[in-house]
């Protein structure tokens, strides 16, 4: 950082700490227009353009946060880079997503290389299913049910509500003010943003961290119930047998193991019998769901031919997720 820039940084920091960067409220040391002009001259960004941060979420912002969460999940669990398998999962996923309440959103599907039985939905259309989950399935209808559930979280904008809450909290703490929005071009944000040269935003990073933590801690019971309901609906609309999600939950129950308390299973399993409750709800929903629908068992079996049976426990790919990834 040059001396000139350092000087401006010190000045800006002092102004921010003094809470007078806008010069509003009559208590400002420097008039807002002068502050804004100086800031724009140094940073190229006029604080007037980015102040007044609201909790509104733009779809582009949701997608960008989805990419951040996807990198975190893919690094934590390791992405299985099997082209044919990924394509098949994505074909089923797209068939279901096309019937969702957000069919105009572009969805991306991936397989996580872990024995853990789980599935995750990141904001903006990024959906993951684990190898352990696929190994437990017997047909395409089951996969459609699980992917329908995950697409449901996205279509019902569960992440968007989470982001809004986080933004509200961040704004309350002043994180969403000019300094945080502008990021490295104005102040060195959390994590040494100044060095990146990219459009780093402490607020965006904070939101991404919050979303990853949220996914690993789990959705609320109400959100899970909603995703289950629409998941079955999307799968049946796509022509699948609506019992797929129920069959998956039953298969999980039949393993006799306590499922993970994150992603697909979440808080519900921590405080309730979980899978058993969801199975009951599924049986109730199936009473009024369309009957019939395809299972596509042989196509599923063919697609799973390349699925590794198990992988030796290996640390996640890059970085140091062990120390930096959010704890579960």
């Amino acid at each position: 950082m040059s001396r000139r820039r350092s000087g401006f940084f010190a000045l800006a920091l002092a102004l921010v700490l003094a809470g007078c960067q806008s010069g509003s409220g009559g208590g400002g040391v420097i008039p807002a227009n002068i502050f804004n002009a100086v800031t724009q001259a140094y940073t190229g960004v006029n604080p007037a353009d980015v102040q007044g941060a609201t909790t509104d979420i733009d779809e582009a912002e949701e997608i960008e946060l989805g990419r951040s969460v996807a990198t975190a999940l893919g690094s934590r669990y390791k992405l299985l880079r099997d082209e044919a398998l990924t394509r098949y999962v994505a074909l089923v996923g797209n068939a279901v997503a096309l019937q969702s309440d957000r069919p105009d959103l572009r969805y991306y599907f991936g397989v996580l290389d872990t024995d853990e039985i789980n599935a995750f939905a990141a904001p903006g259309g990024y959906v993951f299913v684990t190898r352990g989950t696929l190994q437990l399935m017997r047909d395409e209808a089951t996969l459609a049910g699980v992917l329908g559930h995950e697409v449901g979280h996205i279509a019902l904008r569960h992440h968007v509500e989470t982001i809004k809450d986080q933004k509200k909290a961040a704004l309350g703490k002043g994180v969403g003010t000019t300094a945080a929005r502008v990021g490295s071009r104005f102040l060195p944000g959390a994590g040494g943003a100044a060095a990146s040269g990219l459009a780093n935003s402490p607020l965006m990073n904070l939101l991404a961290d919050g979303l990853v933590n949220g996914l690993l801690k789990g959705w609320s019971r109400g959100e899970e119930e909603q995703a289950d309901v629409v998941g079955v609906k999307y799968a049946t609309r796509a022509g699948y047998n609506g019992a797929g999600l129920r069959d998956f939950l039953k298969a999980v129950q039949d393993t006799g193991k306590q499922p993970a308390s994150s992603g697909f299973f979440t808080k519900w399993t921590e405080t309730h019998p979980g899978t058993e409750d969801r199975l009951k709800e599924q049986e109730n929903q199936l009473k009024t769901a369309p009957t019939g629908g395809r299972r596509a068992a042989s196509r599923f079996e063919t697609a799973m031919a390349t699925l590794p049976k198990s992988t030796p426990a290996a640390p996640a790919t890059t970085g140091t997720p062990g120390s930096k990834a959010p704890s579960r």
Partner: protein, 159 residues
């Protein structure tokens, strides 16, 4: 007879005017992609921003076939359009995202293109290549179309 003809002509003109007015729609979202088909996996024909207008050609399954001001035709999900004028505008995010800060049109068409996520991944020590790989290994439009037409197999329909 002449009066009747005039009356009918006026009715026709009025009806035509009404139809024309009804076929214009305004983009309500900060960004909307006009696609080559009725699905999010189709190629993007053009990206429009809030306040832009389109002419409606037809509607099928909640997807609207439209013609843009640039004379391009494509499909857009009906929830993105409004039948009454919408003031141009952008979001706080697109305003601060890299791109054309005047209209945010560039930012809207390209999104943030992963710049925030790349920066986040770098800071955390994560591999952004995960996103790149995922986004580049999704099925193509013809593959999805073929898959949707293929039932896979007949089911028993039992539960």
């Amino acid at each position: 007879m002449r009066r009747t003809t005039i009356a009918i002509s006026l009715l026709v003109v009025a009806a035509t005017a009404t139809t024309a007015a009804e076929t214009t729609r305004w983009v309500e979202r900060t960004k909307v992609d006009i696609r080559a088909g009725k699905g999010s996996y189709y190629e993007i024909v053009e990206t429009l921003v809030k306040g832009d207008t389109v002419d409606v050609l037809k509607t099928e399954d909640k997807w609207v076939s439209v013609r843009t001001k640039n004379a391009k035709t494509g499909w857009v999900y009906e929830a993105a359009l409004k039948p009454t004028p919408v003031q141009p505008g952008t979001s706080e995010f697109l305003k601060s995202a890299p791109g054309d800060t005047t209209t945010s049109r560039t930012a809207a068409s390209q999104g943030a293109k992963g710049v925030y996520a790349q920066s986040y991944a770098k800071e955390k020590g994560y591999d952004y290549g995960i996103v790149t790989w995922m986004e580049s290994h999704q099925p193509t439009e013809p593959q999805i179309e073929a898959f949707l037409k293929d039932p896979g197999e007949k089911s028993g329909g039992t539960r």
